[in-house]
Symmetry: C3
Subunit: 120 residues, 3 copies
C-alpha cells in the first residue's frame, strides 16, 4: 500500500503522534506526568488520567487495553505505590497484559512512563 | 466496538492478564523466573518454559512468535549466557524479531524478563 | 493455525530475524549502530539508515511507522542530540507514536537502540 490513508494520527508534532490508529489497534506514545506531583502515587494517577484521555481520542477506553509496559525510575522503591493506583484504575476482570521494569526517563523528576496498546 | 467480547484474557488478576488474545495476536505479560535459580542460564530456561506454557494457553507456540523484548539486570555480564539458552530454544529458521537491553527488574534476584508477542 | 506460512521472516539467524511480517504489520528487531560513530548524532543517523533499509525489506517505509521505542545509554546527555536527527528524518505530519527511556545496551559503545513497528 502506498500513502498512509489507513493510518490515523492524533496530536502529531515533528517528533511523535500521541495516538496512532491502524488495523483495529491503537498505539499510544509513552506517557509521563512530572507535572502530576513529586511522588509515585500522584504521577501514576496523572499518567492514567492522560491515558484515559488519549484512549478516548483513539475511540477506545481502558477496558480494551491489550498490553501496557511500565517503566519506573526506581522500581524497588516505587513499584508498590504504582501498583496500588494501577490496581484501583484497572477494570475488574479486564486487566491487560503488563510488563514492568526500571529506566531512567526523560528527566530526574519523571518517576513513571507507560506505553499502551489497545484494541480500537 | 463496545464491550470486550473480542478480547480473551487468561490468568487475570487485579493487576494483569498473563495472556491476552485479540485480532489474531497473542500478547504475553513480562515473564520472570527468580524461582528458576540464581544464574542466568537457569532463569532463562525457566522463563522460556513458562513462555511455552503461556503461548499454549493462547493457542499458539514458539514457532509463531513475532517479537520478543528481553531485559537483563546486567546485560554485559549475562547476555552470552542468556543467548546460549535462547538460541537452543528458538526454532531453527523461525527466530522472531528481538530486542535486548538492560533494566533493573522487580527485585534483585530477577536476572531476566521477556515480553513476547505471537501470532495466534 | 499450524505452520508458519503466514509469517515472513527476513535476515534470520539462530537468534533473531531482522524483519518479521504478519497480518499487515512489520516488526523489526532492535537496531543499534556502534559502527556509526562515537557520538549520538552519528549513531542515530546510522540507526535510521538501517531502519530505512529494514523497512524496505519488509515492503514498507518510514511513512508507515506505527510506534518506535527508543533506548539511550544516557538519556539526559543524549536525548537532545537524538531528537535533532530523529525530527529531521521523520516525515512531516507523519510521526509515529514514540517512547524513550534509558537502558544500558549490548556494549558500552552502543548509545542508542530503536525498536520499530510499522504497517505493511
Amino acid at each position: 500500500m502506498s500513502g498512509t490513508a489507513d493510518i490515523t494520527r492524533i496530536e502529531t508534532t515533528e517528533r511523535l503522534s500521541r495516538v496512532v490508529k491502524h488495523g483495529g489497534l491503537v498505539y499510544l506514545s509513552g506517557i509521563t506526568a512530572a507535572e502530576g506531583g513529586a511522588d509515585i502515587g500522584s504521577q501514576t494517577r496523572k499518567v492514567l488520567e492522560k491515558m484515559d484521555a488519549f484512549l478516548a481520542m483513539g475511540g477506545t477506553d481502558k477496558s480494551r487495553l491489550l498490553r501496557v509496559e511500565i517503566w519506573l525510575r526506581d522500581v524497588e522503591r516505587d513499584v508498590a505505590g504504582m501498583n496500588e493506583v494501577w490496581n484501583a484504575w484497572t477494570p475488574k476482570g479486564g486487566a491487560p497484559a503488563r510488563a514492568c521494569g526500571e529506566s531512567r526517563l526523560a528527566g530526574p523528576a519523571v518517576l513513571v512512563e507507560m506505553i499502551a496498546t489497545a484494541a480500537a
